[in-house]
Structures are given as C-alpha cells and as structure tokens.
C-alpha cells in the first residue's frame, strides 16, 4: 500500500480513552475498590544491609481490626528474579536495601495498618553497607548475596565480588589500533540513579474467588509476567491466577519488569488476601515508592578512543560499571545494553568494552525507558565532542565522517539496512541554526554565555518476544481488538485502533481495544522496549486482514464476485470498480452468526521471522539527533535551555501526534535527568529525597518547547514500516545539553546532573567563575 492510499494511518485522531480521562472518570487502579476490601501495607527494612535475627508479629496480630500479618515464613520457600533467582517477596534471613519488604499487614483501615506495622518487632544485626558500585566490586567489600556465584563468563584473571552479570564486547584488534592512533582521548563519565516517577501510585488488589482462583488487579506494564510470579510465589497453579490490568497513570518502564518493578506488591497482596480470607488492596505512598521500586541505574563509564588526524575513529576501549542495586532485577539486560552502546553507533572497526553489573545496597534496577541507553549516550556523545575538540574538528563534521552507510556494521549490529543517522545529524544542525560548522564558528548566532550542542542516538527494538492479536467484528460492523499490551498513553489506544480501522474500512471511533485480562487476552511480554507498535501493531494488522478475508469470503457469494475483487471502505464491502455492487459490513458480520458464529481474525508478530529478516536485510534500527542552545549563568551555574530540536527517524508514524508525544515526553524525561533529577543517598543507604518535595523533576518552567522533526524513507520492521518511538528520544538529551554547556563555557562536565551546583563547581575548578 502506498502512503497516499491510507485513510487514517499517519493522521492524529483523538486518542481512544480520551473522554474518560478529561472528565475525571475513576478508571485508574487507585480509583478502584473491591467490596469488603481490607487495606494492605508493607513493613520495609530500615537498614540497607542487615541480618534478620527474628521477626515477632504477635503484638501486631492482637490489634483489633488486623486480619492478616505475613512474613516469609507464611509463603513457600521460593525466590524470583529474571536472570538470577536471588530475591524473596518478603525478606528471609537478610535485607539488602532500605525498602526491602519484610512483612505485610491487612486491616480494616489504613490507620490500623500503620499501627500494626509499627508493632511488628524485627531484630536486625546490621551489616556493612556498600553504596557505590565500584566499591562493591572490591574484594574487601561486604558480600550482598552469599549464595550467588560470580558470572561464569567472567575472565579468570578478574578478581572481583558482588558482580551479578558480565558482558564483554570484542571487535577487531583494539590494542594494536589504539597504538597506531594519532590522537587518543581517555575520559570517565558517570550518571546517577533516577526514579521514573510516573504520577499514579502503584496499586495491587487481590481477591480469592469462590472457586479458589485468585484475581489480582494491578497497574503493571506486563500482566502476564506478574501472573507467572504470583502463581509461583503463592504456590498455586498458573491457571488459578488471573491478572486484570487497571488503566495505568504512567509507567515508563518503571512498572514493566513483572513483580520486580513493585518489589512484589502483587504476590504480597495475593498472600494477604489468601490469609485474611478477604479482598485486600495495597496502595503505595509516593515516598515509599521512590525508595522501594525499580529505577534507572547509575553507571560509571570509562571510555577511550583512538582517532586518525583526519577524524577517522580507529579504536575504542572502555569499561562499564553498572549498578544493579540490591538484586539482579533488570540489571543484566540494561547493563549489557549500556556496554554495547558504549561502543557507539558510528563506524568502529576495533573495540573492547567490559561491562560489570554489580550488586549494591540500593533500589533495584528496572527497564526504565531505554534501559542502559541514555547512560551510554551521555558518555559516548559527550566524548565525541571531546575528541572533535582535540582534533580541532567541528563536532558535526566529525560525526558525519564516522557515520555508517547501508550495509556497514556497528558495535553489536552485524549489518545495517538504511541508515538515517547522517540525515538526522544534518537536519538537527540546520534546525538549530548550526551554520557552517564549528561550534565555535556558530558563535555569531549565540548571545553571551550561550552555547550550542548536538548529540545523537540509536536504539534496538526489533528483538524480543512475539505477541498476538485477536480482532473480532461485531454484528453492527464495529471492531473489538484484544492484544496483550496495556495502554499507558502509548500505542495500544493511539496507533493500534488506526490499524484495525484502516484494514477493516471502519471509522476509528468504531474500534475498541480491550484492556489486558490474562484470562482473555493473548499472552504478551508487556508494553516494553518500544515494541507495542512493532509486536501488537504487526499482530493487529494481520488479525484484521484475517478477519477481512473471512468477511470477503462470505460477501463474495452474495455479491457474485471473487473475494479477490472485493474492497472494504466506509463499512461497505464493494466490488472493486463496480461501486453499485455492495453490501454493508454489518450485514455480513450478522450473517456470520449462521455460518462461522463470529468473524474472529487472528494475527501474530513472529519474532523469529522478524529477526531473521532483519539479519538478512540488515537492521532497520532508528537513529536520532538532538540539538539545543543553552544559556549558562556564570554566577549561579543555572542552565536554561533556549531552543531544543529533536530529529527522529521512526520509519512511518502510524499515529502522528502520538509519535510526537512520545518523542517530546522521552526528551523531557532525559532533560530532567540532565538538569536536576537524581535519587540521593547517605552513607547508610538511606534515600535522602524520597518525596516530590525533594525529588526535583521538570515542571513547565524549565522545559523548552520540543521542536520535533521526522525524517522519512527508512522503513522499519514494524507494520507499514513503523519503528517504535517510546524510548529512543531518551538517548541523546543529556549529552546534547552537556555539549552545549561545554560550548558556552569551555568546561566539560562528566558527571550528572548538570545542576547549578555541579555546573558552578565545574566553572570554578576551571577558573571560570
């Protein structure tokens, strides 16, 4: 299908579910209540690292209105984890961060829950705490997990501890190439932990049904992963557990990693409901959420690059030390991604990077929006400017010189198909007013204390689990779509309805996308990894085509035509070229009742086939370039962003406003990490800024308008050539801003955040303030 033939694809109709959101309908998990429900609450460790000597719940159980008090002793001796099975839902023997769940209570009111939690007596034997991931690797550091072996692939000569996973990237002969380089630039970059801080608090509600099954309502991004672990940890068969997704008030990957995300709030709630024999609901307080749930980890990144005088990159060596937090969580995957991406997305003939993912006594790493990517890009793209400066070369020219062409390989990707990187760089440079070259030469357009910065990014999204869709055509011609991905303001209620509408010739408003219920929805890995449009979009398209084929087969006899000659538009099935010969979609869908019962189309995204095609034809991954102009106050160190452009290739935008919205939102999130966001700890592992009073996030005051430009002509692996848009815009902003600050002040800041105090310190150290 050529683009011009699309009816609704590429447009921006109202989001499905918009009206209930603007009128304040009670649709979210937090608005939900079960009849006769009890309130649940969790006792969390007050030590970042300690042995549990004893837990006494007897006083708590005596309080009137308390219906259940549970500890690890009340649950099967089963642990969970994605890459390392290293965690109990309620701590047993040891606690490893301040926030680790130790016990839980169900009671008549929140006040009684609080009272009962205070009455639980836990005797701890405090252990030494390790907060910094490099300190944790040292042989004299405290051991977090006595029974977790070091990764098998760790080189024999590496003497470390607390390493939970290891990734090594080897390309060519970096030692030799580095020795032959004309210029070598060696730097260290560091990012801090941030919390995704979706606005809706996390909830879980659980009820034991009359038939003994357990229903859990959760605002989780991956309900099927939650089902698996609730069943395992409670000790019941998978088919005895049903997860129903409530509407999500934001997630950003923070609610994406099964029960890990909420530190097992769902199975804890289910256990309380089983023990209390009453429905239970737990709502996390925002400060409690900040200290206990999954976060974007900090990373320390050593990066060294050799270049020729003409600007050709010849080698990179590096090391990533990635913070897993107290348990493995999503650390192995995010750390591996960060390690690969430290190799960059430019031509890189020789490369060696070691990536260590390390346990520390802190919150656990989750797959927060582009796991590993934003951290790596802060190092890679700041470093690119440092190299360009050393070469005396313009940063844009230096990047373009090392930009891959179709067919080239980059670190971690054996072959690229179309490469939009060059076009995104040139477009971003033009849009920001980066004329002629040389950040220094751009000075005429800049005022005093102002600087211009550019940074690029890429993201891999065409690898991951498959997923299905079921498309039903109702007797009035309306369409119901079942997918396994929840909506949180993303593709499921923006792009997916457009795909069904396009293929079945119905108005978008006639399409319903049902929220996930594990009893009824197709299995899915969740709304993660920028994959909603790729997985559910592909599956919905094929399911809609399957449904259409069934409709054409039934209509063909009525219209005395071949099914191949039929088309469907405006809810009418017509013989192509003979518009007078038509039958309403509703008539055929109703007639189906007497023939096949119902028109039910089935489709799926075959991940193995998609990956094989990506391998054969080359990766169609997206690229981006962001550029900005900032003004730095030499008196306060405050950074104001005056202009911001985001140039993206996302293949084909199925819902245009949604794609722009994802880009704008992801950019804002990383601007937050660039300028102000971080979770701060004291030496005992206590979070110093758990509430919104102290955890600074961007408000409208510090945000520039994000000027988004899409470049076209680089089709992706998704339906109609779409690529995912949810994460990639998180990748470049931190370096773009750091580069602009450097351009304005001459000072390279290598540690986030680029807050007034850090910028001012940098200026002072350089003798510029």
């Amino acid at each position: 299908m050529a683009k011009a033939e699309y009816t609704v694809l590429g447009t921006s109709p109202a989001r499905m579910g918009g009206i209930e959101r603007v009128i304040g309908a009670g649709i979210y998990g937090i608005d939900f209540a079960l009849k006769d429900e009890l309130h649940g609450g969790i006792l969390r460790s007050q030590y970042a690292h300690a042995k549990i000597i004893s837990i006494d719940t007897s006083e708590a159980k005596k309080i009137p209105g308390v219906h259940a008090v549970v500890t690890a002793a009340d649950a099967p001796d089963v642990r969970y984890g994605r890459t390392s099975i290293d965690r109990y839902m309620l701590a047993k023997n040891k606690v490893r961060y301040m926030g680790d769940p130790v016990a839980a209570v169900a009671a008549d009111s929140p006040a009684i829950v609080k009272q009962a939690l205070k009455k639980i007596k836990v005797v701890y034997e405090p252990l030494p705490v390790v907060i910094d991931q490099e300190e944790a690797m040292k042989l004299d550091a405290p051991t977090l997990h006595e029974d977790m072996p070091l990764p098998k692939n760790l080189p024999a000569d590496v003497k470390v501890k607390n390493v939970c996973s290891f990734t090594a990237v080897h390309v060519g002969d970096p030692d030799k190439a580095m020795a032959e380089a004309d210029i070598v630039v060696d730097e260290v970059y560091e990012t801090k932990m941030i919390h995704p801080q979706y606005l809706e608090p996390r909830i879980a509600a659980a009820r034991v049904e009359p038939d003994g099954r357990i229903t859990v309502w959760a605002n989780a991004q991956a309900p099927f992963a939650v089902r698996t672990d609730v069943a395992r940890l409670i000790g019941v068969a998978l088919n005895k557990v049903r997860i129903i997704s409530t509407e999500l008030g934001g997630g950003f990957g923070g609610k994406a990693s099964g029960i890990t995300s909420g530190a097992a709030i769902e199975p804890i709630c289910a256990l309380l409901a089983v023990k209390a024999k009453r429905p239970v609901m737990i709502v996390l307080d925002k400060a409690e959420e900040t200290i206990s749930t999954t976060i974007r980890s900090g990373a320390k990144m050593y990066i060294k690059t050799g270049v020729k005088k003409d600007g050709t990159i010849v080698a990179r060596q590096g090391k990533v030390v990635y913070d897993a937090g107290a348990y493995s969580g999503f650390g192995a995957m995010a750390g591996a991604r960060c390690t690969n991406m430290l190799g960059g997305w430019y031509l890189m003939p020789n490369c060696h990077i070691d990536g260590y993912v390390v346990y520390t006594n802190k919150q656990v790493c989750g797959p927060v929006r582009g796991p590993g990517g934003p951290q790596a890009a802060f190092a890679v793209e700041s470093h690119m400017d440092s190299i360009a400066a050393k070469l005396g070369m313009d940063p844009v020219e230096f990047r373009l010189k090392n930009t891959p062409k179709p067919g080239d390989k980059i670190v971690g990707v054996p072959k690229l198909r179309d490469v939009s990187l060059g076009e995104t760089i040139r477009t971003a440079a033009e849009k920001i007013g980066y004329t002629k070259v040389g950040a220094q030469h751009a000075a005429p357009v800049l005022g005093k204390n102002q600087g211009i910065g550019i940074a690029t990014g890429s993201w891999i999204e065409s690898a991951g689990p498959g997923g299905g869709a079921v498309v039903k055509v109702n007797e009035d011609g309306s369409v119901t779509v079942h997918i396994g991905k929840i909506d949180m303001g993303t593709a499921p209620r923006f792009g997916i309805p457009l795909i069904a509408a396009e293929e079945l010739g119905v108005p978008v408003s006639d399409v319903t996308v049902v929220n996930v219920d594990t009893d009824a929805s197709p299995w899915d890995a969740g709304t993660v990894g920028s994959r909603a449009i790729i997985v559910s979009g592909t599956a919905t398209r094929l399911a809609a085509i399957d449904a259409r084929n069934q409709i054409f087969k039934m209509a063909a006899s009525q219209l005395e035509a071949s099914p191949d000659d039929l088309e469907i538009k405006d809810k009418q099935i017509r013989v192509r070229g003979t518009p007078s010969k038509s039958v309403p979609l509703a008539t055929i869908a109703t007639a189906a009742h007497n023939i096949i019962g119902e028109v039910i189309g089935r489709g799926y995204c075959d991940n193995v086939a998609m990956m094989a095609e990506e391998k054969a034809r080359g990766s169609s991954q997206p690229f981006t370039a962001h550029a900005c102009i900032v003004e730095v106050s030499p008196d306060t160190g405050n950074v104001k962003i005056l202009k911001y452009v985001a140039v993206h290739d996302i293949g084909f935008p199925i819902h245009l406003a949604s794609v722009e919205g994802q880009i704008e939102g992801a950019t804002a999130m990383s601007i937050g990490q660039a300028l102000c966001e971080q979770v701060v700890f004291d030496n005992n592992g206590r979070t110093m800024n758990p509430s919104f009073v102290d955890y600074l996030m961007p408000t409208i005051n510090m945000m520039p308008r994000i000027e988004t430009t899409l470049v076209h002509g680089y089709p992706g692996a998704g339906p109609y050539g779409a690529k995912g848009a949810g994460e990639i815009a998180c990748v470049p902003p931190m370096a773009a801003i750091a580069n602009a600050i450097c351009n304005a002040t001459g000072v390279r800041i290598t540690k986030l955040p680029l807050s007034p105090e850090n910028v001012l310190r940098g200026l002072k150290e350089a003798g510029k303030a």
Binding site: S12, G26, D285, G661, F692, I700
Partner: protein, 158 residues
Amino acid sequence: MSLTIHTTINGKSVSAGAEPSTSLLDFLRDTLEYKGTKLCCNTGECGACSIIYNGKPINSCVTLAADANGAEITTIEGVADGDKLHPVQQAFIDTGAVQCGYCTPGYIISVKALLDRTTKPTAEDIEEAVSGNICRCTGYTKIVDAIQLAADRMAGRV
C-alpha cells in the same frame, strides 16, 4: 466523625462528616466518591489533586476538609456541561495532550481557572498557571498547544 462539613461541590450542597485531620483530597475521593481528583504526591507538589476553591485553583491534598466548610468547590466532575465537554477538555483531546491522563484533571482545573480570568493569556500567564502541575508523559509541548487552542476557541478566535 467529629466534624460535619457543609460545602458546595459543583453547584450542589453537600454535608458529610470528616475527622479534623482529614485532607480535602481524601474527603472528596473517599467520603464523597469524587474520584476524578487524583491522589499522587500528597505533599502539594504535583498538582494532580487540583480543585477550584472559591474561584482559585488549590492543591486539595494539603488543604484540610474542614476548610471546605462554607466553600464553593469545583472538581473535574463539574467542568463539563452535561455531556458537552468544556473547551479546555476538548482542546486537551484534540491536541494529543492526554497521554496517560493522570495529570489531566488537575491540568484542566488549573487551565480553566486561568481562562476564566482571561482568554488572552500570555506565555508567562500559561507558565505561571500550570507551573504547579507536573506532567511526566508529554514534555509539556502539547499541553501548551492545548491551552492556546482552548483560549482561542473560548475567545472565538478560531
């Protein structure tokens, strides 16, 4: 219940009991079942719980239920005219400013309060009016578009 609160919500007289320590947010959500006003930070930082209190937008999470006694309150449930959306609500939908939607009721309250004062807001007026409303999804770009569109429609400029 040691207090009885007599208040007017969305033009309707309401009387209900509350503890002296009950926040207006909890009173609205849990006692009166106005679930459109959202609970988030509970510290007056994010604006998800915004309501209009005697003509001014406030954070209901850091206001006591007792302060509602004798007050005129508008919640998000009182913004639309029956089934007809308020121009601010319609503009948020039309511009794609509603992603997850959790901050949206608070925004619509703050913006309604602004546009009730003036339908010719400057960029500074807009920034000031919603500086207490955090949105984590949109990056604020489409929210500014929505506010401008609503203002233009209310003033008959478009």
